[in-house]
């Protein structure tokens, strides 16, 4: 996997077409991002592109991923953070699992959610591009949290959610366990869950899974 670092403001100036996977890593801490991205690219075990995007306009994780989704072309598109630590062959194992299971979204082993939630994930572009209007990857109402939870629910609803425990992208954030979630994101998630995510998810147990 190749690794490219780019400023968000310059994202649209290049043609990001890849025959494989594009993994987006929004970042604000250049040192952490470089360390994480270099290791992840070297350990991926598959062709593709790790696109580390410096959020120089402070758009936030969700918006950066959405902009990257719209600006790139590839069969598979994923997201990770600057504090990710990659295990060996993480991308190769993820792709194998997705193809074996005809999956649309894979949740990496993040060392936290045990597969219940794709906090770092890899999705089929063909599927992801049908979820929201205007080529958004995540629902645009979220700022920092719950966008991944909603995407996971949609994938579960489509019977295409895949977890491969050997595909490791651990979140290494020493201070995050105690951090509170964004209140407005939680409120939005609950509201959307109550409406079955635009009436798509009729199973209330599934819709309320993370509410």
């Amino acid at each position: 996997m190749d690794y490219v670092k780019v400023e968000l403001s310059e994202l649209s100036q290049s043609d990001w077409s890849v025959d494989g996977s594009i993994m987006v890593m929004p970042f604000t801490d250049a040192i952490s991002a470089s360390r994480a991205a270099e290791l992840a690219a070297a350990r991926s075990g598959a062709k593709g592109l790790l696109l580390a995007i410096h959020d120089d306009q402070r758009q936030g994780f969700v918006q950066v991923v959405n902009l990257a989704f719209a600006a790139t072309k590839s069969p598979w598109f994923g997201f990770m953070a600057q504090d990710a630590f990659a295990g060996r062959d993480w991308m190769a194992l993820a792709l194998q699992a997705l193809h074996k299971n005809r999956g649309v979204l894979l949740g990496f082993n993040d060392g936290k959610w045990q597969g219940a939630l794709a906090s770092f994930g890899l999705a089929s572009r063909a599927w992801a591009s049908t979820n929201y209007p205007n080529s958004a990857f995540f629902h645009t109402g979220y700022q920092r949290h719950y966008a991944d939870a909603e995407l996971t629910v949609l994938a579960l609803h489509a019977q295409g959610y895949v977890y491969e425990p050997n595909s490791v992208l651990v979140e290494v954030d020493w201070a995050k366990d105690g951090a509170a979630v964004n209140a407005s994101d939680r409120a939005l998630y609950r509201q959307r869950a109550a409406w079955g995510f635009d009436s798509r998810v009729k199973d209330t147990t599934l819709a309320n899974m993370f509410a």
Partner: protein, 392 residues
Amino acid sequence: MANSKNKIAAKKPSTSKEIANLKPTTEVVRKMVTPPAGSKSRPLKRPAPVTQVVDQPIPSQVPIKLAPNKDDKVANPKDDADKSSTPAVDSKLESNLAKQPPRALNSPVRIFQIYFEGWQRELLDPAFYPLDNSRGTSELMEFAVFEQLQKNQATQGATLWGALSWRFGEKTGMQGNDWVKQILEHPGNDVYFCNPHVQNEAIFHNMWLQGETSHPSFLDISKAFFVAAGLDDKELAAIHPSSVYSSANYFVATPKFWELFIPYVRKVLVAADKKLNPTIRDVLHSKVADDKGLHGGATYVPFIVERLFGLFMRTEGKELKAYKIALPERERELNVHLKLLREMKDVAHRTQSAWLAACWVNYRNLYLSQTNTKDWCEKYLRVITPTEVRFV
């Protein structure tokens, strides 16, 4: 979208003049990824072009490479002798092995499975021979592999051969052994094929109209291609029965089939290239066809070639016998509407009933409007609904 090229690709032109205005993307996309100035990253590499076809016997346990890697080290027997104490090979045995393909490749049915990356080997079917096409760069994709295999010693003497993709199991839901069993249980055919996208049989008149929903301006490009190649473009709007639907180039066939099919496709491609308006020809060979990058930046050519099979079987291949292998896993995924729609269309085709075909179109449009977004329906429903009912 990222650049002007994408904006052009996203807009659906409705006339041939507008197609001509489509800007081919080849030169832009070929660059793949260019790191911005100051980046420490490496640019993505393109593989070197195929330069040679292997024509030596191939050991069954080793993946077959259609194009040898120039960087691969050539084994030097002298080096090996220095490093190990393996006794020298009997000269008679060595000579025999050099003359005869190994036992596995003496099988009358030889099915190869194309793959491109190491991690894909895990997904290959043990019933097939791994075929390393990592250095393949032809825009013809699978068809280029067929052409190379036809000339390759690996297919010589086979009664049936074919090359399937590494996604065979995922797409068909079948094991290779079951596929071979189907072939053996239905002997006497020239080509065995299948259609992994069974839902298309229910909701599209044919695979050309289906292509319009997957590749920008596919019908207009295909029509220009047909006219230039001297093919009958009525094919593009006619109702085809489900029995002839085929996708993914999953063919296992006799040498007789390949001897007819490969030159047919070549002839059609050459004729189209020769007579097409240069601007449309540039679009034909551009990556506008894969506007979302879901097919490795493929041009229109492989999408047209994979749809020529049905036409070939009704024209130059009409003497050939074909057997369509059913895919139970994919059949199970059809809902009740899709099953009814397919049956309705097939009955309309069999009885040549324009009235029933019109009923099918109405039901089909109702189904599509319930299962797709308003934008999708506004963009495609009219285009994929020919006003005239015609059967092939």
